[in-house]
């Protein structure tokens, strides 16, 4: 894209983020999920993955998918600063994704976690990978987190035993709308890391290669009868 002067003014200033090195996780059913960072030129397949879920009310998929669609589009069009997206893929098919961004060098702002394939704790692994990126690879001091669904509340806010942001920063609100905000500090992360974060690096080339070209899911357990027509 040719960036004219107006476009330059529209784009936020960016911090150069270190890349997230891919890893692989063997799931309970024996399938291997590759977790890797997505590049901006892959945004289309992410949007394709997310969009059918915008109509799913159950388990608050609608609000999570709608917000995530905007986050991925905003990232693709350079309208969100310092954002990154990680995906989980099995044989190249996207089974879940997470969005997040850095407010500055010290503070991470967790956005959303969306799981397509359910029952294998894929969302939990991807959320953990997001925290791993913020606190280990980007070496940030803390991550701000909110939950917009009971599942997110149970999986992340309770299981990680997060601190309340209100105690530390009275009146300061998370970007997602000021719902009660929690903080994952390095101390809290270190306390649960062994139980939450896993994965093997480097990923052997033949396995990493399966996730080179990402595919949107053909079916969604959340949408009975849905079949994606493959071009």
């Amino acid at each position: 894209m040719i960036i004219d002067e107006m476009e330059k003014k529209l784009r936020p200033p960016e911090i150069a983020l270190k890349p997230y090195p891919a890893k692989m996780i063997t799931l309970a059913n024996g399938e291997v999920m590759v977790v890797r960072e997505v590049h901006r030129n892959e945004a289309a397949v992410l949007l394709e993955t997310i969009s059918p879920l915008i109509g799913v009310k159950k388990d608050f998929y609608d609000i999570v998918a709608a917000r995530m669609y905007a986050e991925v589009l905003g990232w693709h069009l350079y309208r969100v600063a310092n954002e990154f997206v990680l995906v989980g893929a099995i044989n190249g098919e996207i089974v879940g994704l997470v969005t997040s961004r850095c407010v500055d060098e010290n503070i991470g702002m967790s956005l959303h976690t969306l799981t397509v394939k359910r029952g294998l704790r894929i969302g939990a692994q991807l959320f953990a990978a997001k925290m791993e990126h913020h606190l280990e690879l980007l070496e940030q001091k803390e991550v701000w987190i909110v939950a917009e669904s009971p599942n997110g509340f149970k999986r992340f806010l309770i299981e990680y035993e997060l601190d309340s942001a209100e105690d530390r920063y009275p009146g300061v609100q998370h970007e997602l709308g000021g719902v009660p905000t929690c903080i994952l500090t390095r101390t809290l992360y270190d306390a649960v890391r062994e139980q939450k974060v896993t994965g093997t690096r480097p990923v052997p080339a033949e396995i990493l290669g399966t996730a080179d070209v990402l595919k949107a899911p053909g079916e969604y357990p959340q949408i009975p009868g849905y079949k994606r027509s493959r071009k």
Partner: protein, 399 residues
């Protein structure tokens, strides 16, 4: 004593049904059973409704559930009562339903068990279930059912040499069966590599109550199941022409000490053994006559321990059976063909009824492809209340 047959069965999917209220969910299973029995139009022939539920008053803020169900599905003026016996409420309700028939107080009894547990967090659900423990000697010290499951498993491992991999084979088997059961809460399979041996297994299959990991325990589920019983000598049997009646051949229950530490040997599940002996005696059968079984594996160690107490295997030998595949669907004694509590789910009040639903389904030859037992004649279920302090064993047979 009069004999009774199961003439209709109904079920809902187990899982997260939090879009519905408790009586809605029970209505779905009940009407499913009315249809199965072919008496939707003639449903007023039902004399008695028994509802099995443990937590309606505590976690759903709903009482008078039996009356509510009768009204919801237009069964007035049938008699209606609630049966609460912890996680064994379901089979207890069937036992009481049978007693009403045997005594002549009723000819046709509908038993519906149901629970909505996902209305609360897993922590609250665990706390609610723990209310069945001794309030001063156990609950007040923070003991929970998963905690007892962990202690029991550790003791069993130490005494009989059971390994984590052998224990995990129970989960692999149950998930395989559950993946073929359309009602099951958990639809995915699991593998030994995935839950036990891979470098990621300790996180993917996280520790819950040492040595029990997530895949060694049942999920917290919503759901309901129904069976309809009819006295074999009743003229009302004429209404049940569509499906083969399955004989409720034996049913027995027994109790053990409320506090686990009062038992001489905590690994001996005396109430399981006694309830099974009573059911065998009533049916005139022995353990070797049983074709398949549904055993209460809220923690998968219980599948092994219960299978020994009911006489299928000697103490400490169930581990060999799981390793050899004897309890798999194509083995000589399939156990938990439905997926068990482990994969099908465990909505407390529904569980015992759901186990009997599975016995009937298998005996009719109606189980889904890949999980139908070959030519079964007698099925046995064990519904385990408390931590083995109130247990019901049921035997169903082809007539």
């Amino acid at each position: 004593m009069r004999k009774a047959a199961i003439v209709g069965i109904g079920h809902t999917v187990f899982g997260n049904l939090s879009d519905y209220d408790l009586v809605d969910v029970m209505s779905f299973a009940s009407t499913n059973a009315l249809d199965d029995a072919g008496i939707r139009e003639n449903r007023k022939i039902i004399d008695q409704v028994l509802v099995a539920n443990m937590g309606g008053g505590i976690i759903n803020h709903q009482t008078g559930i039996a009356s509510s169900l009768v009204s919801r599905i237009d069964l007035e003026p049938a008699m209606a009562e609630l049966v609460e016996n912890g996680p064994a409420s379901g089979a207890s309700a069937v036992k009481l339903g049978y007693s009403l028939i045997a005594s002549g107080m009723a000819d046709v009894v509908m038993v519906t068990g149901g629970e909505l547990m996902r209305a609360v967090t897993g922590w609250v659900a665990t706390d609610f279930v723990a209310t069945l423990l001794h309030p001063e000697a156990e609950y007040n010290y923070g003991i929970t059912l998963p905690g007892f499951g962990g202690i029991f498993t550790r003791m069993y491992m130490e005494r009989y040499g059971l390994t984590e991999e052998e224990l995990s084979l129970v989960a692999v088997k149950d998930h395989e069966n559950g993946s073929k059961n359309p009602w099951a809460h958990v639809e995915t399979i699991c593998t030994i590599e995935g839950i036990c041996n891979s470098p990621d297994a300790k996180v993917v299959n996280n520790m819950v109550a040492d040595p029990l990991r997530m895949y060694h325990m049942c999920p917290v589920s919503d759901g309901a199941a129904t069976v309809i019983l009819c006295a074999l000598d009743s003229p009302k049997m004429k209404y049940f022409k569509e499906k083969e009646p399955i004989l409720l051949n034996g049913i027995g229950s027994a109790t053990d000490t409320h506090c686990l530490h009062h038992r001489k040997d905590p690994l001996e599940l005396t109430a399981v053994r006694l309830s099974a002996e009573r059911a065998y005696k009533m049916a005139g059968l022995k353990p070797e006559d049983i074709s398949f079984a549904e055993l209460h594996d809220a923690f998968i160690i219980l599948e092994l321990a219960i299978s020994e107490e009911v006489g299928f295997f000697k103490r400490g030998k169930a581990r060999e059976a799981i390793v050899k595949g004897i309890t798999r669907i194509n083995g000589s004694l399939p156990i938990n063909t439905s997926g068990g509590l482990k994969a099908k789910g465990h909505p407390l009040g529904a569980t015992g009824v759901s186990q009997i639903y599975e016995l009937v389904k298998q005996l009719r030859g109606e189980a889904e492809k890949g999980r139908q037992v070959k030519n079964p004649k007698h099925g046995l279920s064990v519904n385990f209340g408390g931590f083995g302090n109130n247990v019901v064993t049921t035997i169903c047979s082809k007539e």
